[in-house]
Amino acid sequence: MTKPEDYRSGDPIAWCPGCGNFGILNAWKKALSQLDLKPEQILMVSGIGQAAKLPHYLRCNTFNGLHGRALPAATGAKIANHELVVIAEGGDGDGYAEGGNHFIHAMRRNVDLSYFVHNNQIYGLTKGQASPTSDICMVTGTTPEGNPFSPERPLALAVASNCSFVARGYVGEMDLLKDLMVEAIKNESFSLLEILQPCVSFNKSNTYDWYKDRVYKLEAGSYDPFSQTAAFQKALEWGDRIPIGVLYRSHRKAYEEFAGLKGTEPLFRRVRKTEDLKGLADEFF
């Protein structure tokens, strides 16, 4: 069995004191040790933002790429080596704004990836501008008169896209968050886990206190995540009450199965010999 400490990296952490990301990092280490994965079996792909720094603070393979482009890079990396456990990680700006198109198509493509989005409803790294999930009327550096837009509802988008696993966690509920991470990684299709996380420096509205009064857990006995209609309602619920837990599940055949990759030699290890190419050019003579 691996232990949470086995995933500690030597890189000094550059987050603000009190940042919700610390809780997420702790949940990560617990989830990975529960899954008993060796560091080299894991690949974390991230974009740019405070959330996207997280892989540096874990001992695991890391590709910290471009803002908004974690999902395409993760997709290519997983297809080339489907033996890796691949997780894409980033924030709401990274994933829902800059990477919005990739998010939609990653759900359609359904590669066996887990996508963890830290949603703090604000841009942290660039010091406090509106994000696609900022609440209406929120005053930020780029919306001094108040944010005029209704926030995006990414989980509703995911349910509509028939994403095979849609969940929401909250850093204030550590055990549930760890369990959701484990479930997302175990799911053999594309999984979305949104993690609600207060930004203590730039979001003075959606604070720990604000969340404490609103989040509630979806209970396994009374809520059926396989109903798309029920899930859609839950995914749109925001404001006075905010559901956390597994909102939606569906049985979908993963990309790896369609592409015939499952159970075969990973692409990166395959070698084409000269004799394999014989006859390839015959049609041109």
Binding site: G10, N61, L66, P72, R272
Partner: protein, 576 residues
Amino acid sequence: MCDVTIRIGGEAGQGMKVISGLLGKTFLRSGLYVFSHQDAMSRIRGGHNFSQIRLSGSPVRGPSSQVDILICLDRMTLDLYKDEIQGVIIYDREHVGQGAPDGEKYLPIPLEKIAEEKGRDARMANSVASGAAVAVLGLSLDPLLGLLDETFAPKGEKVVKANKECALAGYMSAGENYRGNKLCPDISGKNGPKRMLISGSEAMALGALASNIRFYSGYPMSPATSIMEYLAAKSKAYGLIVEQAEDEISAINMAIGASFSGARTMVSTSGGGLALMVEGISLVGMTETPLVIVDCQRPAPATGLPTRTEQGDLLFVAHCAHGEFPRAIFAPSTADEAFYLINKAFDLAEKFQIPVFILGDQHLNDSSWTEEAFDLTKTRRERQGLVSEKDLQALSPYTYKRYALTESGVSPRILPGTPGQVLYADSDEHTEEGHITESAEVRRGMVDKRLKKIPGLLKEIAPPRIYPDAAAAWYTVSWGSSFGAVEEAVRLLREKGMNLGYIHFSEVYPLGPEAIPRKISEKADLIAVENNATGQFARLLRMETGLWIDRKVLKFDGRPFSAQELVSQIKKQIGG
């Protein structure tokens, strides 16, 4: 030696490409050299398009502007070219009605009537016209009949038989009515070595397969789509994944991810798609992930002329992406070079962990070229730039440094999944371990490390083709797909006694300080020949070497050079 050009014109959708494919292979199998290209409007049906095939007893690598046989599948083709073309004009009187032109150069053949009679399908007019062209050339009909067998076999015996009857009827009709000299009588029945007729795109795709490509991601864009479709068609049999991305940004990031995992990877697109990929190219530069990027150029800016040709992206590709990092650019001159240079691109991308660009264009990619069989034993597939097994054993657990500072600037890679080690790759400036840093010292070290690869890279770049070696008073300076026209024009002018040579670049970047040998640049006068409006290679050459070429022959109307027009343009420059 015959040197004949056939133009087949009609509306989009009438099958000009089918005929040119059939005839091209017929001539190839008759022992001739063939070059064929398409002149197509950007539409699916209607408009006016033509395919043009040039056949010769000696190698041809470019189009001729002198058309010897015009095949008109519609009236517009006849109207457009009947006055300018001196050769034989094959047309269908039915298309014209009253007042059909008559005279020595006209060869009316009831293409559609024969097709309806013999095949009960007007589309078989293509086979009738092909048979007629074979008769005018004086070639044997057998290779064409053999090809019809192969081509239509999947559609059943009836279709094969009908097409063959149509070809025979066209052949007979032309034979009876054509009174001129046979245009290619000396070749018929001669069996040369077996050669290929292959497009630049097909050659690039074959080169990628021969380089052990395992992942390709792209977004459809003319003229690059044919590479993607060819690879997709072969993906199951050859064990690779071809993924159609939601946009070019996704395509290049997927490719970078796959390359990071260790699969050999390529993307191809045209200028507009490459513009979207640019940030990803910078990521390749920073993360030092090997990648082959094909830009099939077409006239721009913006959407430009989507189905036509230009060499307008060279300076863009030489400089695209923010920041300073090494890259290489190859611009194949022929399909043969496209095959081998793609392979070299895969090899160097991995060896130096850099982006390597292939600059094609619509002319190279869509034209069909006669080439000797590719020699697979000359292609390389060995892994480059990985940590050796021995060095890996010597590493303590989890201490691998992805960006270790080395003499050559190349840090040997491990791939994710390597037991007992992990790697961190980062788009931020990073430490040797791959973690984010702001240190001025580390920054200097890392910039130096990346740029240190350039001297090693320069050693791998082949010099230009120079002909003749060092005696001419004038040299053209060209690059990429214009080679065929340049080579032929120089030959024609030398035959007229002009003391002219060519310097042609296929490996265009990086350029050494003496990219053009001093013994030539100091004595001879140079003329840049480029398929663009500003002489981009000449400008790159000045930037990298200080050499200035002020005489230029430039063409930027979306069409490729022909040897004849180059002859007159070069003469103007020289004042001859």
